[in-house]
């Protein structure tokens, strides 16, 4: 929230999706080279509300519905970016990345490097992530690490409306490719779970929030819990309950999947000496792995007990509610883990 001058700005409560739309709208006005492309981003306004109303304001020339041709239109975004546009392009669900991953990681992510810095690709790839509403194995993933593993893209996954707006504007203004993951449940849509956290204060004027910084969303001294998006929400819920039991947890909202803000993490664990990482992505080679590794190599001496990893055990996401609930970590899992860790 670095650039807000609180005095002058109006601040209103917006949902995650409205924060996205506001960011896009302000930027579309500011820079004529921005176009938005994707399936159902036009009249429909984006399946998860990321572009609601923009078609009416900016018309089909700037808000372009596409065929179901992700390689075609995300590939075209690359060519258009090289030719001077600043495309914001939506991959409706991150689960579909496999039909277009070549364009994303072999081209969008690498061309700047392969060209020795001569070609710039200012592209924002919006994509919806997350489960918890029984959309089953092909529509519920987050795949944070699938993107975080590959060099050449910034990958962000903000949680709160204020961060969503500020980081989206920062992403649009960045001259590098940025993968911007929005969590479906945090969009505050009328037809999904209504979470308090999906509505929050958002300054009206345009502002940017850095793409590479985690945020301490709750200070504490006994244990550090790192989450991202819905897992940050679960961590905050857990921290609330843990407080009642006399455990003072610090909660960090990762925000940036790549690069990871090591500094904030190391500082926290230097204080708490204990680390729990919670992830809505798969366990192996995921966020719990990377953060644990950072700690075991660069923060080793801070640690006084084994790190705890909570994530989707290495199974596809099942459909049936009872099964899905079982595999996605929640506040209770975190509480159990922390209580196990700390003998109060």
């Amino acid at each position: 929230m670095e650039t807000i001058k609180a005095k002058k700005d109006k601040i209103r409560k917006l949902t995650g999706s409205k924060a996205m739309v506001q960011a896009l709208e302000q930027e579309l006005v500011r820079d004529k080279n921005i176009i938005v492309m994707g399936e159902d981003v036009g009249k429909y306004g984006g399946i998860f509300g990321s572009t609601t109303g923009l078609y009416d304001k900016f018309g089909p020339e700037r808000i372009m519905d596409t065929p179901i041709s992700e390689t075609g239109f995300i590939g075209a975004a690359i060519g258009a970016a090289a030719a001077g546009l600043r495309p914001v392009v939506e991959l409706m669900f991150v689960d579909f990345h496999g039909v277009v991953m070549d364009q994303i990681y072999n081209h969008m992510a690498k061309i700047h490097y392969m060209s020795g810095g001569n070609v710039k690709l200012p592209i924002v790839l919006l994509t919806g992530v997350g489960g918890g509403y029984s959309d089953a194995a092909q529509h519920s993933q987050t795949l944070y690490a699938s993107f975080g593993h590959l060099p050449g893209m910034k990958v962000v996954a903000p949680t709160f409306p204020e961060d969503i707006k500020g980081m989206l504007i920062a992403a649009i203004r960045d001259d590098n490719p940025v993968v911007f993951m929005f969590h479906k449940t945090l969009q505050g849509l009328g037809w999904m779970d209504q979470l308090q956290a999906s509505l929050g204060p958002v300054p009206e004027d345009a502002y940017t929030i850095p793409l590479n910084k985690a945020k301490v969303v709750r200070e504490g001294k006994d244990v550090t819990i790192v989450g991202v998006q819905m897992m940050t929400i679960e961590a905050l819920n857990a921290a609330g309950k843990l407080a009642e039991r006399g455990i003072d947890a610090e909660v960090i909202d990762l925000r940036s999947i790549k690069p990871i803000d090591k500094e904030t993490l190391l500082k926290s664990v230097a204080k708490t000496n204990r680390l729990v990482v919670v992830d809505e992505d798969y366990l192996s080679y995921g966020i719990t792995a990377e953060i644990s590794a950072i700690m075991a190599s660069e923060g080793f001496h801070h640690l006084k007990s084994p790190i705890v990893r909570l994530a989707i055990p290495d199974v596809p996401i099942p459909y049936s509610r009872v099964l899905e609930k079982y595999v996605i970590p929640d506040a209770q899992d975190i509480i159990n883990a922390v209580e196990n860790m700390i003998t109060v």
């Binding site: 429909y44 029984s134 509610r321 099964l323």
Partner: protein, 329 residues
């Protein structure tokens, strides 16, 4: 042949009716727990729900030519094909209700129905089922069997890379493969004219040197004829075809779709041409069935579907930790 035709048309009618009634019940079941406030994750049938009311002819009139040895792959909107293919209706319904007795023990859900006993599968990724059917056709050919494989897709999927790669392979290898494109005018909110550079996808058959057919106006009888020709050709080693059928999507893309992108008149107009009513009239007019026969058939349909819902509703949910099973054999 005349007689065959009669049986086939009655079978098509039965299938369409089963599908329609199945989905009408599903529409209601889906809304349970979602009123007064709609929440996609609530109720006994959570998640996305894509219904095919109005689109029944493509599935019913093609699959009547197939046996259980023939393969069908379908999409995110799979009920009408699944029913036509003879997928176990109880297990299918139970799967959609997330029950342990479901086709996938509750792991798959409505977009992921697999019944290997009748060689049916579907999936939630647009275009992805096409190469699966090509692979089944390849296996059939290698085994020396005359079994065919049919992939069903929407007109939106015809612009995916998988469409092109699969058709080229099927044509190159002269496989017993048929692609049925259900053109319901919409890919979610995107009209066909905003997604497709040609008026219809039968034209694209030329890009693979294969036969293309266009069935107009959701006509089950015409679909039946054209499908027969394509299936016979495939069975006899004559290679693949594309059949596009103009069909109708009575409901939204998924349940809960506000449908702001389409004209308010569109649905009533389409409903006025309900293919089930049209086929019924055809059966009666051509004296292929009496009103009493139709009604008996319909009652049987209701009974079968109701049984399936009974079964599903009364089945048990899986134990939570069953989530960890079935990743590997």
């Amino acid at each position: 042949m005349k007689n065959n035709n009669k049986n086939d048309l009655l079978q098509i009618y039965r299938t369409m009716k089963t599908s329609r009634y199945f989905e009408e019940r599903m529409e209601k079941a889906y809304l349970e727990g979602k009123q007064p406030i709609f929440n996609i994750g609530a109720g006994p049938v959570p998640g996305e729900m894509h219904l095919s009311n109005g689109q029944e002819p493509a599935a019913a009139a093609m699959i009547v030519h197939l046996t259980k040895d023939d393969t069908v792959t379908a999409t995110h909107r799979p009920h009408h094909q699944a029913i036509a293919k003879g997928v176990d209706l109880k297990k299918m319904t139970a799967e959609i209700f997330g029950k342990k007795t479901g086709l996938g023990k509750g792991k798959g859900g409505h977009m992921h129905l697999f019944d290997p006993t009748v060689k049916f599968s579907c999936g939630g990724i647009v275009g992805a089922g096409i190469p699966h059917a090509v692979g089944a056709a390849l296996a059939n050919k290698k085994k020396g069997e005359d079994w065919v494989a049919v992939a069903f897709i929407g007109e939106g999927a015809a612009n995916s890379g998988a469409f092109h790669e699969s058709l080229n392979l099927a044509a190159l290898w002269n496989l017993p493969f048929i692609l049925v494109v259900e053109d319901n005018s919409w890919g979610i909110s995107v009209a066909k004219k905003n997604s497709t550079s040609v008026p219809s996808n039968d034209i694209r058959a030329k890009a693979y040197g294969i036969k293309g057919y266009l069935v107009k106006d959701n006509d089950p009888v015409e679909m039946y004829k054209v499908s027969k020709e394509a299936v016979d050709r495939a069975r006899n080693g004559g290679g693949p075809s594309i059949i596009e059928i103009e069909t109708y999507r009575f409901l939204g893309h998924f349940q809960g779709d506000p449908e702001l992108y389409r004209n308010k008149e569109e649905v009533p107009t389409l409903r006025g041409k309900d293919p089930i009513e049209r086929l019924k009239n055809h059966l009666l007019k051509e004296n292929l069935a009496t009103p009493a026969e139709i009604s008996a058939l319909e009652n049987k349909v209701y009974e079968v579907v109701d049984d399936a819902y009974e079964f599903a509703i009364h089945s048990e949910y899986p134990e939570p930790n069953e989530a960890l099973e079935d990743v590997f054999c």
